[in-house]
Amino acid sequence: MLDKNGIAKRIAQEVQDGFYVNLGIGIPTLVANYVRDDIEVEFQSENGVLGMGPFPFEGEEDADIINAGKQTITTMPGASFFDSSMSFAMIRGKHVHLTILGAMEVAENGDIANWKIPGKMVKGMGGAMDLVASAENIIVAMMHTNKRGESKILKKCSLPLTGVGCVTKVVTNLAVLEVKNNQFYLLERAPGVSVEEIQNATEGTLIVDGEIPEMIL
């Protein structure tokens, strides 16, 4: 079974040379730490920066240079700043190749819910609805089940949706799943996790075709 860093490490393998990538808050942010250093990748943050770098050294923080999580950041050589409308032109216009974000629920038809729990304080969707409605390649980073052990990989989302039919891949603490034809396809197992365990933790339709390899991390 993977921890958050393990999930991020596995997702980092999906990042290819020449990709512009938008990372959501939470586990997705960790992905940047594990991208191979022999490929060229630029990270976009929707508040208006392309070519995000690591956190600044202490004393070098700049209040005018933050990411979408409102954290102080630095920029890489070749970086650029732009306004919010242009930022979402990059996203909506499909210029950003890959979006990685977290979710509360994912359904077998590709629906995603990650912004609102009825009865709880709603903080808002931020840029998530724009991101999921536009990106062609959306990877969701999440835990397979909730704290009560109930599946978050569902036939149908129960929470208010963020987007419909948009998720292409899910990486959880247990497995890598592909979402297509209204089904989840089991591609890989987390180290030490059996197919049966994954089946038991998955409420949505799970297709297990042949031998399922263990992830190589």
Binding site: F55, A63, I65, K70, Q71, M121, G127, A128, D130, P160
Partner: protein, 233 residues
Amino acid sequence: MINKKVNNVEEALQGIKSGMTFMLGGFGLCGIPENAIAELVKLNVRELTCISNNAGVDDFGLGLLLQNKQIKKMISSYVGENDEFERQMLSGELEVELTPQGTLAEKCRAAQAGFPAFYTPAGYGTEVAEGKETREFDGKMYVLEPAFKADFAFVKAWKGDAAGNLIFKGTARNFNPNMCGAATITVAEVEELVPVGQLDPNNVHIPGIFVQRIFQGKNYEKRIEQRTVRQRS
């Protein structure tokens, strides 16, 4: 040169009334019009509708207007950092219209650019699209979103001149350029008001035509919401 310069924030906010709709630039506390917000608190105008990506924190940014119960309605994409906001929202004192961030930016830009509305894929099939016109283009569904209408836009820039030309710094740019010219009157406050002719026209981000009033701001706090650093190895 058409002069847009006013002497101070008091002059810049002339004509402000209760019940108006304002646009306010900024992402979190980054690039917010600190001087205009402080003056709005002083003027004590009420029943305001505020269009702003976020709602500040409890003791800064739009949080100051919330503390003073001056805001009737917020139109934002994310409002998570503010306890007073949460209290007013849950008690029903404050109306909140949550809007996807890209849609929020584009509703500003559409107002700036003279588009009455636009289609976006964001929010299709979700509660954001409820009651809105939808349409299919090339097999994909889109939602019709109208441009914003506002009385004043308050923006903050790094440098500007009396002609109203603006240059922004870093990610403090965010929604500010999209709000310029998107309201009846755009008020720009700048960290540095430079003599006309000093800004290289090649480097101007927002031409002065989109700005009605500009003033030299003062006492910028530029608070950091999440100070994240790495250790020197």
